[in-house]
């Protein structure tokens, strides 16, 4: 009898929790649909407050990281500082993780995300991307003893290392569902796994694998670009048109001073080498294969 009661209580608890959960979800959707009170701050509101919240990585050297004096540095941060300067406001850097970038914009807790944010169709439904400022595609690095130059070389028992939440993981799951993946949360763990021979290869952004092969003897990037060419762009909350337009104008006007080339030379050249500059940098929001066409969203359909 007593047991029955406990079971009953447990079931009741569960249903209550579940209904609570779904309640929260539906009410959350309601607020975003009615959008009478926008989650984001418009350009004027940001200017008036004198402070802009920009979400950046704080542990992704050389895009966004914190140096030994506690200052934010990197390719994304260099651009963020310029935005702050040209807007005439102070910057409040917010440390974001790969997994919570969209959430930050959806709740308006930051005004802009500048955290190595790859433009994808899925993300574009939830946030608004500005013009791109960098190219990225996937790459695969493997040991010299057995360089993988094509994914078809992988046998049934070979595993590929990926970092959770990255485009590499998504791409492989979607296009090569048969390849066994080894997932790690942190760069350092993935690196150790490859060096310990846990897997046949490591798939990541091509910038990452290029830098890795440059610094570690005995490893080669067998596949320098895999899948579609993607771009990296700033993102704002869905519907924040004033801020989006300002960022796009800013990116276009910065082209006259070759701003992103200078940014590359200051922050990325040490890691990736000068020879990749033209391939990686996007100036004025114009990607090399689609000159003059500012619409980048359909480049992923190829």
């Amino acid at each position: 009898m007593k047991k029955l009661k406990t079971i009953f209580t447990l079931i009741l608890t569960f249903t209550l929790v579940l209904s609570l959960g779904s309640c929260g979800e539906s009410s959350g959707k309601d607020t975003s649909n009615s959008s009478s009170s926008a989650v984001y701050r418009t350009l004027d509101e940001i200017k008036k407050s004198g402070k802009i919240n920009i979400g950046v990585f704080s542990d992704k050297n050389p895009f966004g990281y914190v140096d030994e004096s506690g200052e934010y540095q990197g390719y994304d941060v260099y651009f963020a500082r310029r935005i702050g300067k040209d807007l005439g406001v102070d910057i409040n850097f917010v440390s974001t993780e790969a997994a919570n970038r969209v959430e930050y914009l959806e709740t308006g807790k930051v005004d802009i995300i500048l955290a190595n944010f790859t433009v994808t169709d899925e993300r574009a439904q939830k946030v608004d991307f500005a013009l791109p400022y960098m190219n990225v595609s996937l790459g695969v690095v493997s040991p010299d003893s057995r360089v993988i130059t094509d994914l078809s070389q992988l046998g049934a028992n070979d595993e590929v290392i990926v970092i959770s939440g990255t485009t590499a993981e998504d791409y492989l799951i979607k296009n090569y569902p048969n390849i066994k993946l080894q997932k790690y949360d942190a760069y350092a763990n993935a690196k150790n796994a490859l060096e310990n021979g846990n897997a046949a290869a490591w798939a990541n952004d091509n910038t990452e694998v290029l830098a890795y092969a440059l610094q570690n003897k005995g490893y080669k990037v067998g596949i320098p670009s895999l899948g579609s060419q993607d771009t990296i762009a700033p993102a704002v909350s869905k519907g924040n048109e004033t801020l989006l337009k300002w960022i796009n104008d800013e990116i276009r006007s910065l082209a006259s001073e070759n701003f992103f080339h200078k940014d590359y030379e200051e922050t990325l050249a040490d890691t990736y080498g000068k020879e990749h500059e033209e391939k990686l940098v996007v100036e004025g929001g114009v990607t090399s294969d689609k000159k003059g066409d500012p619409d980048v969203s359909d480049s992923s359909s190829s």
Binding site: T9, L10, T13, L16, V17, L20, G24, S27, G28, T31, S32, S37, V39, G55, S58, D59, K60, N61, Y65, V66, D67, E68, S69, G70, Q73, V94, S95, T96, E97, A99, N100, E103, Y104, E106, T107, G108, K109, A186, Y187, A188, K191, A211, Q215, D270, T271
Partner: protein, 224 residues
Amino acid sequence: MADLGLDVLFKGRNFIRLLEGLGVALRISLIAILISIVFGTLLGILRQRENLLLKFIMRLYLEVIRILPQLVLLFIVYFGTTRSFGWDLSGEAASIIVFALWGTAEMSDLVRGALTSISVHQYESAAALGLSGAHIYLYVILPQAVRRLIPLLINLVTRMIKTTSLVLMIGVVEILKVSQQIIEANRMKSPNAAFGVYLAVFVLYFIVCWPISMLARKLEKRWG
């Protein structure tokens, strides 16, 4: 001696940044622990009452908090409250709320357990001596219960201090985040820095948690 990357720790403000990160972690956990001890004790005593509705609500609260991982709770409180009610809580405030909710739930269960473990004849003997209900608790039950509670409480406190490492997911830069920042900032120049930095983090956590254990042992002996 192998290169453990210890030099990275003393570059620039790195070590001070680690200490600042530890400060953030301690601030969050200690405030939450104080709140938890007060409310957890109250709830724990209330749960002794023979009121079915009250018991059910408390049980529901405890189970909900226990079932949900702390990370989910952090996301619900930090992002969820902004979505649903438009509150703009800071990451640190959200962390304190979550840790206080969690601590209160666990604490109330610990207090309830400690109180239940005091045998009925203690209550009855005290009542036979003519003590009133409040006095029975204050002079007879609580002193014995607290003694049984101390080791469990210490366990909870150290667990809460260590779990603060999750708050980096809502943008709070605490000691573990600082250590990741230091490791990643130096990953090209000193790839072994992870050893040295995590070693330092271990030592710092130890320095904080060890005195708490010592204090608990002393208290147990004094009240024992």
